[in-house]
Symmetry: C2
Subunit: 310 residues, 2 copies
């Protein structure tokens, strides 16, 4: 039996230490811890990596602090458009949703696409009709909105600064967001999941890297499970998540080296952010090129670790 491992992230970016009050920092740590506990409970019970990343990302989506599900950022039309993806390493099955507006937990929608649609990626209102026909309850778009996100959009639009990466609620500025999880279960299987509200004040219709398998999410038992966070356009151009796996498969890189190199390469395509990556030996890497990344992990038999800055 393999010792299970789970890691999560809640977005990377410039996280101002001064603006991050002790209370707010504690809330982020608690949100990360709760998500890890949800995923770890699955793994401790002998459940699958796929179920574990699903449970962890549902918890992050339900936490209003993170830019996914409840608490997602608003686009230029003051609407939410959510993206998500999930991938199972053993089978390389995958599912993803782009630009949905009424799916309470987009990661559950991505999983339904994977398991029941015969497709990998579905977009927009038609995707929601499919999910509804499959029995998924949809929510009013207002469900996702928090006062902090509305205030943030108003500030960005008043500033005329254009799009803004993730949330700066509470004056924690310039953060780039997304949530995600990677897991290794007791049977040695890997899985990855990613979910996001995208960028504050983004153009309506913009889709980031999250639902792009290979960019924002990838899993293959032979190499690694990867979930990314940052400037989505750069992660798409770099095919960032799959690049970690490819460096391991073809270049013989270790997981740590591969993950580090991918993050180092991001500025070459205008990118900043980070990723979490895990291989079947339990090696784990959480590199980022920003001042911080909300992150945490648990190894079987050890304590939960959470961190924000370096």
């Amino acid at each position: 039996m393999v010792a299970y491992t789970l890691a999560v992230h809640g977005g990377a970016g410039t996280i101002d230490r001064a603006a991050l009050t002790p209370d707010l920092a504690a809330a982020y740590h608690a949100g990360l811890r709760h998500a890890i506990e949800q995923g770890a409970a699955v793994l401790a019970g002998g459940g699958s990596a796929l179920d574990a990343v699903t449970a962890a990302v549902v918890a992050l989506e339900d936490c209003p602090l993170f830019n996914a599900g409840k608490g997602a950022v608003l686009n230029a039309d003051a609407r939410h458009e959510l993206d998500s993806a999930i991938m199972e390493g053993t089978t390389r099955r995958a599912g993803a949703l782009a630009a949905v507006t009424r799916v309470r937990n987009p990661i559950l929608g991505a999983r339904l696409v994977m398991e029941r649609s015969g497709h990998v990626l579905m977009a927009g209102a038609d995707a929601e009709r499919f999910l509804s026909a499959q029995g998924m309850e949809l929510v009013a778009p207002e469900y996702f909105t928090t006062p902090e996100r509305l205030a943030q959009l108003r500030r960005v639009q008043a500033d005329g600064r254009g799009v803004m990466l993730d949330h700066d609620g509470q004056s924690v500025t310039d953060r780039v967001g997304t949530v995600g999880a990677v897991a290794l279960d007791t049977q040695g299987r890997l899985a990855a999941a990613t979910s996001t509200g995208g960028m504050t004040n983004k153009r309506p219709g913009r889709v980031g890297d999250t639902p792009v398998i290979g960019a924002g999410c990838y899993a293959d038992d032979a190499t690694a499970a990867v979930s990314t966070t940052g400037t989505g356009e750069a992660f798409i151009r770099a095919v960032a998540a799959y690049d970690v796996a490819a460096r391991m498969a073809y270049g013989g890189s270790s997981l740590a080296d591969a993950a580090e190199r991918v993050v180092e390469g991001l500025p070459g395509v205008g990118g900043q952010g980070g990723l979490i990556a895990l291989d079947r030996s339990g090696a784990l890497a959480l590199p980022f090129n920003t001042s911080g990344m909300y992150r945490g992990y648990l190894r079987a038999g050890a304590e939960i670790v959470t961190a924000i800055h370096r």
Copy 2:
């Protein structure tokens, strides 16, 4: 100055030799030739690989025989939903459109996303609003419909066979479709472009591999320009287009070996189809695992070559 090269494809699949009448075969060859001529004229005049693949794909989109633009297949609601992507190898800039219904030449829309949106991928009606605001004229969805595609949808739906890959107009059955082009210009720059109507009778909202950078389209001057065609879900799961480049970059594979390996790996994720790949030395590969792929190429100073079967 580099000797320019251009290649195109018009879909891969089981192409029944008996059903492909001499007249129909001649029409396909003429359609491929015309697209190559449009792209080659750009290259011969010293233009960019990016402009050449754009011109070639516009010609394929405008030809009603191929499953992209005019002549695109219909989904289960008898509507067209079109996907496209373009990538420039020198800068790794990219643009893509998913599930648009009114963009006459989706490849021109993808290019506008690349050049003017600040984003890489845009989806649905909001993407069309952006393109319209940028001065792009939109067409009525009926523009794309041909009697052959309508008849094909009716046959598939009457058969209860579920989705069908590409067109079987004229009884040329089980073809999987998409069009694409790769080019190397006289300055040694690479580019790739891909455009499709997807699968006949597909679920509304389904997005294939075409607009997924790394799956249906990829270009990097350091490795290769790649455009794929086939069962999109498998190409997404395999990150097929980028996998060609990764095998070259990290594994030291030749372009031909890398391309062949990627196509060989497709059945492992349920895939069939093919791809066209070109590197900066002018090496060109056009592998497929189906009985045929509409394809053609031109090297500076030589004759245009077009082919359908092996």
